[in-house]
Subunit: 171 residues, 2 copies
Amino acid sequence: MPTTTLAPIDAATFKALFRHYPNGVAIITAAGAAGPVGFTATSVASVSADPAVLAFSVTHQASAWPTLREAEAVAIHFLDAEHLDLGRTFAARGIDRFDGARWRPLPGGAPRLLDVPTWTHARVLERVEAGGSTVLLAQPIAAEVGTDRTPLVYHDRTFHQLGEGSTLRSA
Amino acid sequence: MPTTTLAPIDAATFKALFRHYPNGVAIITAAGAAGPVGFTATSVASVSADPAVLAFSVTHQASAWPTLREAEAVAIHFLDAEHLDLGRTFAARGIDRFDGARWRPLPGGAPRLLDVPTWTHARVLERVEAGGSTVLLAQPIAAEVGTDRTPLVYHDRTFHQLGEGSTLRSA
């Protein structure tokens, strides 16, 4: 049954709207006062190619939020299907997400995860509070783009990959 | 070969970063002074579930931008694979995108496309200019969620769907 509401929609309806809306998966990291922080995000979006600007959001409940509130720069790693376990690790609670991760600090300290070949180092331009989250706009200042990418897709609360024969053509 | 740049990255590198980053596909519509406007977007992102807030961006080159700059509300339609042709129509230039589309105005006039079962009517909260685009934050105030959704995915400049067996499990 479709759900219709007329007031500002409730959290359950909002989540239902986005449950079947697929997204790429990224790990966003930053240099925190007590060491590197990072989280798996499905909200990264391209905003402008020239000049380059991207956006992502972070909930104020996230363990990385106190760092993201202040960070001057972030590293954004675009995950392929082979990075599934890394994506799960950076979404898990109550663990040291960097334990076992191979990383190196970028200038300014944001940790670059060495196992993800496609990444960008981005300077935070602006923070816009919205609901219980903040949208960050950031300007990529360095990037590496890997080859042979088979991206990870988050959809219906699980991770997927685009398989062979997934391309659609008009009837 | 990976591409590395140290200055603000150029448009080609930025596009390469996002080329293999998959996104859901939506059609965003609004009531224009000269009739309904709409465009196919791959930038819709969930920001906050409670209170409900979503974000999307629109380039200032878009034919819909003069309307989106002023609009108080928009309708956002989340496309399934079966809506491929509609998605292509609302990305095409130099045509009347609403020619042949079945739609009805929501309160305030934003056109709801009747062939897309999953949609939300959202009030624009804020506009943030970034590069040659504007990020809009919007609060859903009504929604319908369809069933049996097989979402459309935009990736590598073509439309895809998540096929059978696309689900990944950890090794």
